[in-house]
Amino acid sequence: MPSLNRAQLRELTRIVGDRGVRSDAGARSAYESDGFMLERATPEVVVLPRTTEEAAAAVRILRDAGLVIVPRGAGTGLSGGARPIAGGAILGTARMRDVLEVNETDRYARVQAGVVNVHLTSACASAGLFYAPDPSSQTACTIGGNVGNNSGGPHGFRYGSTTRHVLGLTLVDSEGEITRIGGPFPDPRFGYDLLGPLVGSEGMLGLVTEVTVRLLPQPRCVETLLCLFEDLDACCDAVSEMIARRLEPSAIEILDRLTIEAVEASVLRAGYPSNAEAVLLIEVDGGADEVASTSEDLIAVATEFGAFDSRRTTDPVERKKLWTGRKGAFGAMGRIAPDLYVADVVAPRTRLREIVRVAAAACEERGLRLANVFHAGDGNLHPNISYDRRNADEVRRVLEAGEIIMQACVDAGGSLTGEHGVGVEKQKEMCMFFNDEDLDAMKALKSAFDPVGFWNPGKMIPVRGCREIHTKPLGDSVGVTP
């Protein structure tokens, strides 16, 4: 297995400083997985540059040493995309945390890739602007990581995922060359739109070191609604109807009873009611009259579909509490079991109830506990299955249920992932969604940027052909590292 020699290690340390190189086993073990805990591998070395230039110089040394590179932000990803497959180097952006520019007039910000998502919104708040993508992990995840996964978040319903907000970026390629693509100009005017495929490329095309993002004016009025249901099915149907009536809030989220219990029992207690089987958490923003009209219509639909109570608040403290509960829901579920499998699938918004039922049945049949908290307005479901990773049989059952949910989504016209990415978790399942020729076209894109397979190898695109994978029985294609 390739590794760094002493001279190369010294040179790396000279470039990025002592704190920027982690080569001892203890420090490297912290990077053996990301938020997807089922599979692990330790990198040969971890390098944490402070600038684009340092990153480029580090890439040249790692390339000369024959090491492949896994780019990594905060490691909050849930698909195993930011961990090594076997050895290689982690090139992390954790020390690249500067907001380089906030331009109020032209409404953009330029940041280093390691800037934490919520810090960007804080940095532009005084200018009356905000950065729209708001993943639940936004207090920890980085803008570079968001670019890698094309992250969404609750407010993606109205504002879209990361790809709609990236105006430009700086990429370090496998030659260690620095390239700036796009910029504050709103529309690329010649050549191909390289930003399009780079966003969401899961670190497989190069290392993103700087990002220019679009900022939006803060809405003049914001109202948060909480609609309470006795039945999860009815709650799902209400969302489908809101979409069908073309109502346009900024976020529509569903939390089920188990999730509510976990949140209310935690330090993130949000005041969710204990007498509801499911709640709809909705946010509406815009002009005051738009917000009032839309809120009234949304509550009317909720009532029509069986909501037994609906609450409204424009109070910032109340609103923040409601959203803190929602965004902390995954963490709160630590009270239920030591580990949590956070599935991430997408269903057409007309078929939410059907997929939620499939998930419930798959878990019930396998004796698993399921909690639902998801971006209902986008059809992006997160069935969360509690388990204990020390129990190999339970792990097997969890993965089996996960695969059944994915297959049901694909069969219904949905997809494998809405915001967490493919990584290693869903690599083989790509063949549920794409055929060999589709994947060949993706390989062609990968080769154009990375002809030698230097960046994040072994992710997203299955190594074997789909025809071969399809001959394996269901459940057998998911590998579990003991």
Binding site: G128, G196, D289, S293, E437, A441
Partner: protein, 435 residues
Amino acid sequence: MTTSSFLDTAVEVAEIEIHGTSSPVALPRTEAELMALLADLRRAREAGSDFRAAFLGRGSAIGWCAPSLAGSFSGGSSSGEAANNGRATVWISTRSLVPDGATGIVEYVPGDGTLTAQAGASIETLRAAVREGGHRITPAGPRSGSTLGGILASGISSVDRYAFGPARHHVLGMRIQDASGRGPTRTGGRLVKNVTGFDLHRLHAGARGTLGAILEASLRLAPVPEAEVHVTSTPFSSAAEATAAGLELRASRMLQPRALFVRDRILHLVLGGRARQVHVELTAALEHLDAAAPHHGEDALDRAVDAARRKSALIIATAPSEVMTVVEHIERALPGSAAGLHIEPDAALVEMDSEGLRASLHGLFESVLPALDPSAVHVSLRDPSADFAQLRDVLRDRHVAPRAASEWMRRLQSSFDPAGVLRSPDFPPQEVPAS
């Protein structure tokens, strides 16, 4: 050479009028025919034939978006032989992939707000179909003579980008036929949210068919608003004054327009959304603007699109904070040019039509271009006319692409078209390393 002279595949070839000139265009009727045609062309290229193939829908945007190709038509060639740097051009249209009498709609799900349609589908037909379900396609307009694939491949956006962003943001997925020899490939999906695999559809949107033909596309639709109104100011004394008024409205944040642009010294606003909100915003707008009677109704945005309709010859893209400087330069150096100017302050675009450009070419060379910093202001020419050959050369030298980006683009093209069947995109000149 005619389109069919070296083809084994029996593909219908029709003479189609493009820009007033009759040209032969291959019209495959099935995806299998298109694949076979591309296989023929690949063999012909490998055997040494010197031509390039170009895809089109109905040809409505050829002159607008493909200067290197459209040049052949203005040069008077009837067969396209002069096109593409002296090479013959084999034109292939995707419009006949939609069977006679069919709409080309693969799936319209009103409850999900998504549409999947064949690339050759008429945009008018699609707009009418989704209108019945209370939806709109972004970009608004052009309303006639275009196909869905043509619009997406051309990278055309419209004045509704103020609220909805460029058209490519609304593409959820595509089916593509490239020239590599593999069958049709799929990218993305039909869902409003999806990160499964690389977003290859974003690469094809705006690639002008140089990486393959779009066969099918899925779009996120926008709801038709409850109320909509088109407001037009009375003419300002200059385009700069109208622009300043637009920038002031943008900065005030008191309105949430669907569109905001200046055309011929008149500021246009489209307000849309919930009826109560539109009423409040209209009142505010009329307090700030000396305006003609507003036009209310479902066709308000269409009327604005019609007012903005233009054949842009010169496009100047910059930051919103630079727009005033650009407009003032143009008006100072080119008196009387305001009539041909189209300005979108938020998208930071200033566009000039061919007539205005022709009348002010000298002043543009002497005064305007030297005053605009190439690192902050990007100028591109869309009119293929020989009158602007010198300007074209000057502009090519103003902007360079990073070396690596150029290399990635070239590799992408050779991956999707290894035999060089398809025409080359107009790549910008490559950056020369400093050393």
